[in-house]
């Protein structure tokens, strides 16, 4: 339902009625206070565990606004944020959970936390967003968008190719002093408030208050704006397309690690989420997805892992066994120096029977894990055996490894035996696999890490079985049976006639 602003009350601030605010407070205290605080100041039971931190409503700084940079949001803006939430943060979408009336009441209640809503700036002007023309992938149009992107130094923060790895990205903090990441434009689904092209347009027109993301209303000409939107839009696919199985292709020859080994091999993308169970809880893992490819030959398997990382930490050290506190304070990453980036592919230590798996947290003594691990400050890789956090040992099998970091992307390749210890990987079978990434910049080490659930490798048979023979076989069998029946029936009918 859409509530239009009363035209006559245009000059008055839209603050709702006493009753609306009171009802808003009732819902707020039950549904919102544990994150945003009873006083709206983001000091609450859950805030130490949240990054980004819940909005402090007493500041009047709202990221999502249809109003000019630095201004307050409209009631409708606040309602939209409540309705849609902020993807990939803890701020949930309340649409369908709270009624439209409740959401309206909440918006009025939130306004009471900041007195400016009741003052002369309480009725901000809306920046007009024109209707988006159809998306155009015309090379000239996108090239123009790229020029605007470069001319306005979007790359300083967002990176040369929009991967969130700009030069100043590691130093960015929000108005409350918390570290903040420039959006990765190749993962549009993680945008806080940019689900559509109009939203991207609005984001750089109005800026995001309270964050370093500026407004470009004054600097980008009207005719260039949609070119920039479409350029940003062209950097990402629509949805994450999370997969569940890596198709491992067979190769008759030796597996030589390098770029060409995985050419044309299908890539599968998996979500990475924070470890939030055991000590070392990671509430905002530096990495939120990993792309995987794999190939095999008669004795070996090679796995390529690719992920976006704002910076490459190749100094310091890391290890899955490092002891970590329950959680690090949600405060700046800069206190986290000394940890390098690292990555692991985790496999069961023996061929599982049926659906049995090691516990996904590093295994346990009943069913250990084989951890293909590399610390990116070194140039070696090894197989470790995990029986749970803190019970991880090197089992002496060395792996071949190559690693490179370029423009915000880590590429790591492992090569190891197809059969090792109790684990075999025959053709045409599914082998459980999971992944872990440590972002040294965010102080991820030991059990503080980004991890995935169990997925599968599937070793595609090297010689695909041709369907021709089985097809011919079944065709002939069925046809033969039919002819036999028809012949018998005809024979009998003829006999009966002659009889």
């Amino acid at each position: 339902m859409y509530t239009a602003y009363p035209v006559v009350a245009q000059q008055e601030n839209d603050l709702g009625t006493e009753a609306q605010r009171a009802e808003g407070k009732e819902v707020y205290d039950i549904k919102c206070a544990h994150c945003h605080g009873y006083e709206g100041d983001a000091s609450a039971v859950a805030t130490p565990y949240l990054r980004p931190t819940p909005r402090d409503f007493t500041s009047g700084n709202y990221k999502f606004r249809s109003t000019a940079s630095g201004e307050l949001p409209t009631t409708e803006d606040i309602k939209r944020s409540i309705r849609l939430g902020m993807p990939y943060t803890s701020m949930p979408a309340w649409e369908g959970i709270l009624s439209e009336t409740e959401i309206t009441n909440l918006a009025y209640y939130l306004k009471t936390f900041e007195s400016a809503f009741d003052g002369p700036y309480g009725n901000p002007t809306v920046v007009e967003i024109p209707r988006a023309p159809a998306y155009s992938a015309d090379p000239d149009h996108l090239a123009r968008g790229r020029e605007v992107f470069e001319a306005n130094q979007c790359a300083d923060c967002h990176g040369e190719n929009g991967r969130g790895n700009g030069e100043s990205a590691p130093e960015l903090v929000d108005d409350w002093g918390y570290p903040i990441r420039a959006a990765d434009m190749t993962k549009r689904w993680t945008f806080r408030a940019s689900a559509t092209r109009e939203d991207v347009y609005r984001t750089f027109m109005t800026g995001l208050n309270g964050t370093p993301m500026p407004s470009y209303e004054q600097t980008i000409d009207e005719e260039d704006r949609w070119a920039l939107v479409d350029y940003v839009w062209s950097l990402s696919r629509d949805t994450p397309d999370y997969g569940t199985t890596v198709i491992v292709q067979g190769q008759p020859s030796e597996l030589v690690l390098g770029e060409s080994l995985f050419e044309g091999v299908p890539e599968t993308y998996f979500p990475i989420v924070g470890q939030v169970i055991e000590p070392g809880r990671a509430f905002y893992p530096g990495v939120n997805g990993i792309s995987v490819r794999a190939v095999y030959n008669d004795s070996e398997i090679a796995i390529q892992l690719r992920w976006h990382d704002m910076t490459a930490e190749t100094e310091g050290m890391n290890n899955p066994g490092i002891e970590v506190p329950m959680f690090d304070p949600a405060q700046p990453d800069t206190t986290m120096d000394g940890w390098s980036d690292a990555v692991a592919a985790l496999l069961p230590s023996r061929t599982p029977e049926g659906l049995e798996r090691p516990y996904f947290m590093f295994g346990d003594s009943r069913f250990p894990m084989s951890i293909w691990y590399t610390d990116l400050a070194t140039d070696s890789a090894a197989v470790l055996t995990g029986q749970g956090a803190g019970r991880i040992a090197d089992n002496g099998i060395a792996l071949e490894r190559s690693a490179s970091y370029e423009d915000g992307v880590w590429t790591v390749q492992f090569k190891g035996p197809r059969n090792q210890g109790g684990l075999t990987m025959p053709e045409a079978t599914f082998v459980p696999i999971s992944f872990t990434v440590w972002d040294g910049f965010s102080g991820e080490r030991g059990n503080k890490r980004g991890l995935s659930a169990w997925y599968h490798l599937y070793l595609e048979p090297m010689e695909a079985q041709s369907a021709v023979l089985p097809m011919a076989k079944w065709f002939l069998i069925v046809l033969g049976a039919e002819l036999l029946i028809v012949a018998l029936v005809n024979l009998r009918a003829r006999r009966r006639k002659t009889a």
Binding site: A46, S90, P92, F283, L451, A453, Y458, L483, V486
Partner: protein, 275 residues
């Protein structure tokens, strides 16, 4: 259930019954074929979430047997059906049609062979029992707890000491937002910020088939022992539900259980009733 599909199938049947039969006389055999196809369509497309193919195959086998039995129960009808088949195979005027049918059936079988050989391979899927029977007792930090008789000790306060009860609810809320909401979500819908990383998905406590139909002692077991404590037929290790006995005390677990019910507005199933 997909009402739309059911209505479409019913409409098609009515159409055949009252309109098509004006021009074509349908004998018993044809009617059986039509019923067979209609039921197959209803099972395959009319039910949400879709039934597994193996179940549909089973249903159709039963229906085929039932239809054949129905036909053969009446000698007259069986003969009528038989005659029409025999006529089709013998009579000259059906020669072309017979040839087409003779080739169409094996061609369909061959096509099916091709399709099934080129299907993407399916990873082993878990035949998960959602609420497996709990053990009769568990040990928690060395003490045995009898799950068949255990009651939530906090529950009593609900009627005797409201202020103390409210404190336990508040404590449960704190525990929930320290430990659980990343997966089970702010609104307990199983859609926390990290839920997309897990399969099976974290339980949705707003759903009438989770905590609303469980006893508090059952929840105690699930929370204390998590996925690692599930019986082996429930594929314990593929679920991400942690075992909280290492991190929470007994009382904290009872508190968070109270909070789950307070927040969703459900009542636990009374002790002593079967699961």
């Amino acid at each position: 259930m997909n009402l739309f599909v059911f209505l479409a199938i019913a409409a098609a049947m009515v159409l055949i019954q009252f309109v098509v039969t004006r021009w074509v006389k349908l004998n018993r055999l044809a009617w059986m074929g039509i019923w067979w196809v209609a039921l197959w369509a209803a099972f395959s497309y009319g039910i949400n979430p879709p039934l597994p193919n193996s179940i549909i195959l089973l249903f159709m086998a039963i229906i085929t047997i039932a239809l054949v039995a129905y036909l053969s129960a009446d000698n007259e009808e069986l003969k009528q059906a038989q005659d029409s088949i025999v006529r089709f195979m013998v009579a000259r005027q059906y020669r072309v049609a017979l040839l087409i049918v003779l080739f169409a059936i094996p061609a369909a079988v061959a096509a099916w062979t091709y399709v099934s050989m080129n299907e993407a391979p399916q990873p082993p899927s878990s035949g998960r029992t959602i609420h497996p029977p709990p053990p009769s007792s568990i040990t928690f930090e060395g003490t045995a707890i009898d799950l068949t008789t255990a009651n939530n000790p906090i529950r009593e306060l609900q009627h005797t000491d409201e202020a103390a009860f409210a404190e336990h609810v508040a404590n449960g809320r704190r525990i929930y937002f320290e430990n659980c909401f990343y997966c089970h979500g702010d609104n307990m819908q199983g859609a926390g910020m990290f839920a997309h990383g897990y399969d099976p998905l974290p339980a949705n406590f707003n759903d009438a088939t989770t905590i609303a139909m469980l006893q508090e002692s059952y929840l105690f077991w699930r929370i204390a022992k998590g996925a690692p404590g599930l019986p082996s037929e429930s594929t314990p290790w593929s679920s991400a539900m942690p075992a909280w006995e290492d991190f929470l005390t007994q009382e904290e677990i009872w508190d968070v259980i109270i909070f789950l019910y307070e927040f969703t507005g459900f009542e636990p199933r009374a002790q002593g009733m079967p699961h």
